[in-house]
Structures are given as structure tokens and as C-alpha cells.
Symmetry: C2
Subunit: 586 residues, 2 copies
């Protein structure tokens, strides 16, 4: 059987940064060439970044992507890599699509190209377009209708893009029909909790369907609300895992494969799902036999808590860097949410770039102030205290507020204070809200919701506790100081906006609340189904009512790391003026 050394570059990429992304491709191609690779691959839309969203509809951006691709082909050859086929994802347009009402303007394509000999030798577009969850690809792209097969050293390599593997039909059975020796899929598959298990089973199943070795190259890093967790996988035609890359880490997986030789009279014409086989021969002759490197290895999986925590760190780090900031600012109450956000921030950008400010009011307890200071001592972040009483007195003198207005005022004074420091000193503000309180509206709009990024906005409160304990334990295991003060974890959660206030004055116990929220928000279950799952009817009704009426606040909430495909924001879009309530239908 012919041999082939495949290099899968599991890297990050920044939306819009064509020059920087091209530079990455050159850098990692050089690295792959040094390791003796014969075929080099990069993730889906690596050249433009992913997702480009409405930039796809701007023709000057499509032009810029196409030009950058051609320039990259030339550049790679100039650097001495002309003889190495490189698969690069980019943004293209369809030349054939007739203009039609309802089709994305300019007929953009989520495309990939094979660069070889200083030229763009083959291009193709994603066939299956996802349009659910965080994806809107019917809005942006026209589908591809070919099965691209490129012959490399006598092996026929069929190519695919991400969703082509997730949905049934299309390029997977077509690869079998076309007699491919290798199926290579390039992806930008966003992280979801426990998705790694799903992904592994998927690739194993598809390899068996395709009847050939299947390589699944994933993106890693963060872009806006999305996190990409890497986890590239190579599976043999029997479903056996050949190699698996680490999670959340940039790097190159090099794997030596023995692959079937291409047929002398390959299948042509149209195969499954109307896909037309498009073949390009780069090199006919199999390589002279060489000594394969030891098997690529199987990187260890993180446990669930480490995985979620790492996703939050990676997402925040990418957001800060890609927005051109170096430092972050956090209001520290002494509570668990801001403490966890601070710990994540220290891991993401370094404690020397984390600024904490304690903003006590007359209702702030001594132990809260102490816990905030203790957090600073343990982590080494910059810490200062600015009491809000003078600002509070100025408003109360002018307006004489009471009740909820007085409570929210304190939270908003803190938001204004954080933004003033942000403007003055150039830090990006982090919002400390968690998914439980945001879901039920237990937060103050323009108050604790202030911030450019909400690191834990998709994390339920019970998970906040779990992650805090995990982070402390993991520090202990490495002989480091646990970052989060024990008191922040053990004391009853409180907003401290009136004397003696605790969260359970307004909310069910978080253990119960989060289980109801998961059924209602994440799984779209109705009231009856949730009650049938064993929860008190009155409590379910009250919780669902809170969620239904809190939709508006969530709309105002800044983006953060998405750790579930069913979070808030883009993948859960409810009308604001919605009168339907699970709790009131007859």
C-alpha cells in the first residue's frame, strides 16, 4: 500500500485578519514540511476566520479573501513548499449560481482550496450547510455540488468540510462511491459540553460508511461567543482510532498512513446526492517506502470540570486579545461569581493584567470585603477599594428612591464606576453574571450586567461552585495556592443590596433551580414534562414565569463563552414581546 504522511494543523484563526491568518498558514506549513509531511491541512475558513457572519455578504471582503488565497499559493511556493499540497479553508463565491431572490447576495461559498505548485489547483464548497444552533449558513452561503478528489502520491484523497460529515448522505457515501483512499474533512466545530464523545463516535461511524481512513481536522481557540476545542481525530476504515489531538491546544498532528492505491480507471460523473466527482492529479507515483514515525498517539481527555473551565479560559483569552486589549477589570464583591471570573481571568491573561475593584456600599458585610481582598492576595491581581456611598447619597438626595429602585441603583453605580475606570485606564470590563441568575432575571440591567464579556454567562450556578472547587483542588494538586477563598465558596450567595439579603429570598435553591432551568432552557421541555420529571408544580410555574419574563434582560447581556449549544444569545432567540407563557396556557 502507498504511504502518506499527513499533517493536520489544529490552529486558531482570527475573523477578518487575512494577513495574520495567511502568516499562520505559512508558519505551520513550514513546520509540517520540516516534519516531512506529504499533505498538509488547515481548518475550515482558516484564511478568513470563522464565523464571518455578515461579512460574507460584503463583496469587497469576498474579493479580499480570494486575492489572499492566490497570494498565499504563490507565497508558499516562494518559500519552497510548492511541491507540498496544502488544503486551506477560505471564503469564495460561486461563479455558476444564477442571481435569484432569496439567495445570499453575491452567492458566497464556505470553501476550501488545494494549493500546489504556486497555484490554486482545486476549490470546492461545503455541501451540507448547517442552519441551527449557532449556525446560520443558509443565510450566508450557497452549497457546493462536487465531490473533490485530489490524487497525492498515488492516493485518491476525497475532501469535505465539517457539516458534510455531521449530516447523512452527501460526501461520505460519495467518497466510497468514488473509491477514495482517504477522506479528509476540515472543520470549525464549536465546543459544547461533552461534544468530544459525540464527535469521536461520529468520525468512527463516517469512516466505516466511507470505507476509508478518515481524518477530521478541527479548529482551536476562540471567536466572540464561540470556543473551538481542537480534538482532531484520525480513524481507520474499520473505525479504529489512529490518532487523536489534545483539546484546546494549537499544534500539528503528524500521522503516517498506509492507504490503498488509486484505481487506474477511477469513477467519474455524478455519484451520491447529485455530487459530481471532480478529480485533480497532483502526483501519480506512490512514494518510495519509508520508515513510518511511531503512531501519532492518543492525547488524554480532560475530565468534565477541567474541560469546561479550560473552555472559559480559552474563550476569554481569545476575546481579550482579538479585541486588542491587554488587561481586564472586574468588580469584586467577595462572592463566588466574581471570584471565579477573577480566577479564570488570571489563568487567561495573567494576574498582572487583572484589575479588581471592591465597591462596598453600606450593606456590604465585613466578611465580603475581606473575601475580596483575600482573593487578591491569593491570586496577585491588582486590587483597590472605592466605596460607592458618596454617589449613592447624591442620587438618593435628588430622587429619594426605595425598594427595587434603591437596590438596582447600587448595582448601576458600580457599573458606571467600572466603565469610568475602563475608559480612564483601558481595561476591558468583565461581567460576573452566571446562567442561573440571567435566566431568571436576577440581575440588574446596566448594573452587574455591565461588561464587554461575560465569562460565565453560560454556566449554571451549581457549575460555578463545582468549577471553583475544581480550580482550588487542581491548584492544591500542583502545590499552588488555591485562588478562591474558601469563604466565597461556602457562604450563602447574596447580592447584598439590602440588609441581610440572600439569594434564596427570591430564588429556589440553586440545586433545584438549575435542574428545572436545564429542562426548560436547554432541553425545551414544557411545564407538564418538567412537573412529570418530579418537581413541585408551583415551583416549576414560578421558575418558568421568571424565565419567560426575563428575556429582555438577556438580550442586553454581553457575549461570553458558549459552553452549550443551547445557551442564550444567538442560539436561543425568543421574541421580546412574547405573550406566551408555559405557566399560563389553558
Amino acid at each position: 500500500m502507498p504511504q502518506l504522511r499527513l499533517a493536520l494543523n489544529q490552529i486558531d484563526s482570527t475573523v477578518g485578519d487575512l494577513a495574520g491568518n495567511a502568516e499562520s498558514v505559512v508558519h505551520w506549513t513550514r513546520h509540517a514540511a520540516e516534519r516531512g509531511a506529504h499533505l498538509v491541512a488547515f481548518p475550515e475558513m482558516v484564511l478568513t476566520g470563522y464565523p464571518v457572519e455578515d461579512l460574507a455578504l460584503r463583496s469587497s471582503f469576498v474579493d479580499a479573501s480570494r486575492s489572499a488565497l492566490r497570494a498565499l499559493a504563490v507565497r508558499l511556493a516562494d518559500e519552497g513548499f510548492g511541491g507540498l499540497p496544502v488544503v486551506v479553508g477560505y471564503l469564495d463565491r460561486s461563479e455558476e449560481a444564477q442571481p435569484r431572490f432569496g439567495q445570499p447576495a453575491g452567492a458566497p461559498r464556505n470553501a476550501a482550496a488545494v494549493l500546489y505548485g504556486g497555484e490554486v489547483r482545486l476549490t470546492f464548497a461545503k455541501h451540507h450547510l448547517p442552519n441551527y444552533g449557532v449556525f446560520d449558513e443558509f443565510r450566508y452561503f450557497v452549497p457546493g455540488d462536487t465531490l473533490p478528489v485530489v490524487r497525492v502520491h498515488g492516493v485518491d484523497v476525497a475532501l469535505a468540510i465539517c457539516e458534510d460529515l455531521w449530516q447523512d448522505g452527501g460526501r461520505v457515501p460519495a467518497a466510497r462511491s468514488a473509491g477514495a483512499g482517504l477522506l479528509l474533512s476540515v472543520n470549525a466545530s464549536p465546543y459544547e459540553r461533552e461534544k468530544d464523545d459525540t464527535r469521536l463516535e461520529l468520525v468512527r461511524k463516517r469512516a466505516q460508511e466511507a470505507g476509508c481512513t478518515t481524518a477530521y481536522l478541527a479548529m482551536t481557540g476562540g471567536q466572540d461567543e464561540l470556543v473551538f476545542d481542537g480534538d482532531s481525530i484520525v480513524v481507520g476504515p474499520d473505525g479504529e482510532v489512529v490518532a487523536r489531538a489534545p483539546q484546546f491546544a494549537e499544534g500539528c498532528v503528524v500521522v503516517d498512513l498506509d492507504l490503498p492505491a488509486a484505481a487506474d480507471d477511477p469513477v467519474t460523473g455524478v455519484v451520491d446526492d447529485g455530487l459530481r466527482v471532480e478529480r485533480v492529479v497532483l502526483s501519480e507515483q506512490p512514494l518510495a517506502p519509508y520508515e513510518a514515525e511511531p503512531p501519532g498517539g492518543y492525547a488524554e481527555r480532560m475530565d468534565d470540570d477541567e474541560e469546561v473551565y479550560t473552555a472559559l479560559v480559552v474563550g476569554l483569552r481569545a476575546y481579550v486579545a482579538k479585541n486588542g486589549f491587554r488587561s481586564v477589570l472586574i468588580g469584586l464583591s467577595g462572592g463566588i461569581d466574581s471570584a471565579l471570573v477573577a480566577a479564570i481571568a488570571c489563568d487567561a491573561v495573567g494576574a498582572e493584567n487583572v484589575y479588581g475593584v471592591s465597591m462596598p456600599s453600606k450593606y456590604s458585610s465585613e466578611h465580603s470585603k475581606g473575601d475580596a481582598a483575600e482573593l487578591a492576595r491569593r491570586t496577585g491581581l491588582h486590587f483597590r477599594t472605592v466605596p460607592i456611598e458618596p454617589m449613592f447619597d447624591a442620587y438618593m438626595g435628588a430622587l429619594g428612591l426605595s425598594g427595587l429602585a434603591e437596590e438596582n441603583l447600587q448595582s448601576r453605580l458600580r457599573g458606571t464606576l467600572l466603565m469610568a475606570l475602563s475608559n480612564q485606564e483601558g481595561h476591558i470590563v468583565l461581567a460576573p453574571g452566571n446562567k442561573s441568575e440571567l435566566a431568571v432575571g436576577y440581575s440588574t440591567l446596566y448594573g452587574d450586567s455591565v461588561g464587554a464579556y461575560g465569562p460565565i454567562k453560560d454556566v449554571y450556578k451549581t457549575t460555578v461552585f463545582r468549577l471553583a472547587r475544581w480550580r482550588n483542588r487542581s491548584a492544591g494538586e500542583r502545590g499552588q495556592t488555591p485562588p478562591i477563598p474558601e469563604a466565597s465558596i461556602t457562604k450563602p450567595p447574596s447580592a447584598e443590596l439590602r440588609p441581610g439579603q440572600v439569594d434564596t429570598d427570591s430564588l429556589p435553591d440553586y440545586e433545584v433551580l438549575d435542574r428545572i432551568l436545564e429542562l426548560y432552557v436547554d432541553r425545551d421541555q414544557g411545564k407538564d414534562a418538567i412537573v412529570a420529571a418530579g418537581f413541585d408544580e408551583e415551583l416549576v410555574a414560578r421558575t418558568l414565569r421568571m424565565v419567560d419574563t426575563a428575556e429582555y434582560k438577556r438580550r442586553q447581556y454581553p457575549p461570553g463563552t458558549k459552553i452549550s449549544a443551547k445557551g442564550f444569545g444567538k442560539d436561543r432567540r425568543l421574541p421580546i414581546t412574547n405573550r406566551w407563557r408555559e405557566t399560563t396556557r389553558g
Copy 2:
């Protein structure tokens, strides 16, 4: 030729309010029956409201919609309208669609039903699903694959839903193939500037393609960011307009039509685009000849300024009412933006429900304070003054801010003050930002951007001036006091956040700025194309840079009336951490 009296109910509907919407259908059916109608129609998804967005993916809501439809059929018969066919849009699910990865969960359908004799006699789903601009229907629905034809008093009526008319192919040619005598399309077509002309031409063209009289029933009112402008149209097979309903007004268009008799051996089976003809006969016998009412009339079109202004009023009124508020709160600076917002608010909810507050700082000019008070006098809105100097001094004492931080602080103190009054008194806060300043980021996050609704967020500054002048002129023509003080219109725009500040310190003249923004934001033109249109290159580069870097602020901006299909928010989704700049590509 058989006669038929058609009643098109151009009404509003509230998302999620199944009981209230059903009540509306009964009310307007009674009205249509009293006017002697033989066929009654309601807009797309009238029973659930439109758009339901992610509610479509919640199966308990789909169940509730289906139950409400069946109950409505019974209720209509109980009320004595069992012999009157009523076409009602609702949310359904497909019974046939096989579960498939990538298909909307539960296979929901954007459907309509014919209710008759206390039963649901026929249902069908939208065939063409729009997934561009403000639409995401591939995310939510599976398409319908039938051509429904219902025989009413010997006339074959083909039915369609909205996009079925906008895109080529499908139900329009199928109606001709099936020999329909009338094509009835029910719609929820959002308002866009000058869309009424487009819509008229579309319906005329489609009537000629269908070869039969075509009735286009539109929704009116407002839902979240969308406004529906009514403008229902009936066109003969020759393209001649038979009737046209008013814009932005609820009502019933009754029109008597002479229509071809149904064929004795009608076409069956599959016609154009794979649509299967589904026929239901409700009544075979043509009506005895009767005296037709005089032709339905052609409601006068509004001119462009009146149309936009009315859209803003209708959108705000719906948002306030549908969110359960009665009164609004506006910060009045004396400037044109807040003055126009106040005028719109007075027209939308009545001056007695509009609360204005002047919040002067030490940089506020005497004439600004006077202009705000003068606006209150002219309109009769509630007015008070709360200086922000004590709050400002408290922050400056604690933080010693300067420059932009000091400017933004003043704006945020006002935002906090408005929210405190909102919490204390129960008004909904309106944000005064216009599209020009939001596009270039000339506003303060959590400051002047505070508010649950931004009535003029999709209105360029030059249009703000034009609408203010139009509103004053129109008041004058009706012998009323022009609401907006002349000085607010004529003085140079200023944020008054530092001594002597005017907008043109930071921005190009609005006349030039808005023309560049329209090309860049609304028309997706690139830098080169804009320069080629005759603008100074350096100015274009500076403007585009401002827009590119202001994306984040816009994300935080509250929803408002959308008067263009290419505004901000849902229909222009750019990645936040986007490094691509029109102004820097090489």
C-alpha cells in the same frame, strides 16, 4: 362568472398571545360576516403572532398552537360562522418529516388552515422559506410541498403564504397549472422604506403569472424590531389593481370579485416544483347572482416622510403595549434626537403618558435647558429637571477622571438616573440614539444608549431633521402647535459633554456622513466603490474605520423600529472580534 365576496382582515397580532389572537379572529370574522363575506382571510401566523423565533422549537408551544386552532374552528361554528370559510395562519408541525440531523427540532411548519363547519378542513405550510434579512425560516420550519386549492361556491381558490409570492417558481405557476380562479396569499411582510412600491409591482407580476385574480393580505402593527405596514392588495389577472388597503391601519378590506368557475375535471397530481395539488371542496354551487358592492377603493399612499414617521409611531406603540407598559420616560437634552423621540412618543402613547426629564450638567447651555422645557410646553408631556452635578462631583472626587472618561461619565449618570426613575415609577425608558451616531460609535454605552427601545435607531441624522420638519409642518397644516422647538432643529448638534463641543468636532457633516454610511452599511459597498462614487478618500477611510470599530457598541443597543431591511441588529450580524477593515486591506 361566479361571484365571491372576499374579506381580507389586515390586523395586528401578538406573539404568544394565543387566546387574545383567537379573540381577534372571532371579532373580525363577525365583522366580515356582517358585511356579507363568503371567504374570510387573516394574516400569516395570526394565531401565534409573527415572528415566533425560537418558540417554534418548543413542542409545548406547537401543541398549544394546534389546540388553539382546533378550538377556534369550534368557536367560530358556535358563534354561527360555521358556513363561512376562514383562512387562519398558525404554527404547526409536519407529521411526515422523518427526524434528521440538521432539521429544526420537532419539524415545525409555518402553516395556515381553512376552518369550516367547526372543523379544520385543510392545512398547508409555506413552501418558500426566507432566510435572509430579518428572516431565519430555515432555522425554524420545514417547507410545505402541496398546492392547496379550496373550492368555495364553485370557485377554485389556491392558497399561498408570503414568501411563496416573493420567490420565483412554486405556488404561483402551480396555481396556473391547477387552473385556480383566485390566488390568495396571507402575509406578515415587514415594513421597509419604499417597500410598498416593490410589493405592488410584485403582486401585479405574480397575478399575471398565476393567470388569475390575486389577493395579497398583509399584517399591520408592530412586533419587537419589526413593523408591519398593512397595504393589502387585490390585483386582477391582467395586473390591474382592484383594491388597495391603507398603510399602518387595522381594518377589513371587502371586495366583490367575478371569478372563473372551477373546471369539472380539475388538474390533480404533482404540478410545478414538485407541489402536489391538494383539493378540498367546501361548496360546489356558485352563488345566486347578487349586487356587488362598489369597487373596494384604492387607499391613498403616504408620502415618504409621513410613512417613515408613522412606522416609528406604530412600532413604538406596539412595543410599549405588548410589553405591558403604559408610559415612557425620555431624557430631554434640548437636542433634535430626544425632541423627535418625544414627539413620536406623544403620538404613540399620548402626551399624558410621556415623562421627560432634563438632566443638565455644568456644560449644558441655557438654550438647551430652555429648548427642553419649550418642547414640554408645546407637547404637554410631564417634565421635571434633575441636575447631575452632585453625582458627577461624587465620582470625580473618588476617581479624578479626565477626557473621554469624564465625558462618558456624564452620559452614564443620566442613564442611571433614568433607570432609577423607571424602576421607581414604572415607565419604559426610550433611548434617543440615531443610526448615524450609532453606526460610527458616537454614543456612550450604558449612557445615552440606555433604554428598552430605541425609536430612531434605524433613522439617519439627516432623516431625523427631515422628520422633525415634516412633523412640525404637518401640525401646522392641521392648525396644531408644532411639537418640536425651532431651535432644536436649527442649532448645531452637540453632545454638550465638554465646553463648546459640537458633533462636527468628531464627525463629518451629517449630509456627507449619511451618504457614505448608506453606501457602506445599507448597500454593503466597499471603500473603493464609495470613493469612486465621488467622496474624498481620506474621509471615506476615516468613516469606515469608525464604523468597523463601533460594532461592539451596536451589539449592546436596544431594539427599535426597523425601517430598512439592512439596519443594525438581527439583519446585520458582524463578528465582534473582526480584524477586517475596509480601510486597511492591502
